[in-house]
């Protein structure tokens, strides 16, 4: 009984994480913020998988669920890093970053995306 309650709490937490990732995709301003928030969606999926794993117990699909969870946790930071690096090398929306890091190199006017 207590394990079932814990698993439902984990599933609810993962759903909240997925909802915040979806909301951040339509609310945040520049691509780096969206990449930061969108990388958390896979963590929400992994938490939901952990909840289902606790609810099911040891069955014949336990190894597959663990493999899916580990793969979600591994691939999401790689994708976030790759997308963020590609956006930064294209110098997309880097005026704000330059304002924070190097205030003298701040240019006037954005490129319409930010």
């Amino acid at each position: 009984m207590i394990i079932e309650v814990i698993s439902w709490i984990l599933i609810s937490f993962g759903t909240v994480l997925l909802f915040s990732a979806s909301l951040a995709l339509i609310r945040f301003a520049d691509p780096y913020m969206k990449i930061h928030a969108g990388s958390k969606a896979s963590f929400g999926g992994a938490v939901i998988l952990l909840g289902f794993l606790l609810m099911e117990g040891i069955t014949d699909v336990t190894g597959l669920i663990i493999l899916l969870s580990v793969f979600m946790l591994i691939t999401s930071p790689v994708l976030g890093h790759s997308l963020g690096r590609a956006a930064y090398l294209e110098e997309l929306c880097t005026d704000d970053i330059k304002k924070i890091s190097y205030p003298a190199e701040r240019e006037d006017g954005g490129d319409g995306v930010c």
Binding site: T15, G38, G45, I48, I65, T75, S82
Partner: protein, 96 residues
């Protein structure tokens, strides 16, 4: 997997959860359609793929069909490879 230990409450809850994930897909698809830069569209596609995979998993837990987990795993792997390839293409300007 055990037979018959899942009641109506569990199946209704998991079906409601799947509907909630479909709503999240609709929310995330906004960024695919009107994303100003390609990275926004790729990120929206990534989030939608994770949500589709989670829907596969919840449906597999509801109906005890184990092969849907294989489909979810292949979906995640293909999403990873495709997004990485597109990011490398956008970074370098050509496939290498």
């Amino acid at each position: 997997m055990g037979k018959g230990h899942k009641g109506v409450v569990f199946m209704t809850s998991v079906a409601t959860l799947s509907l909630i994930f479909v709503l999240f897909i609709v929310i995330s698809s906004y960024r695919i359609v009107v994303g100003p830069s390609p990275y926004d569209r790729l990120l929206g596609l990534n989030v939608v793929s994770v949500l589709i995979s989670v829907i596969f998993i919840t449906f597999s837990m509801e109906t005890e069909m184990g092969f849907l987990l294989d489909i979810a795993l292949v979906f995640i792997v293909l999403n990873f490879v495709a997004t990485l390839g597109f990011a490398k293409y956008l970074e370098r300007g050509e496939f290498r």
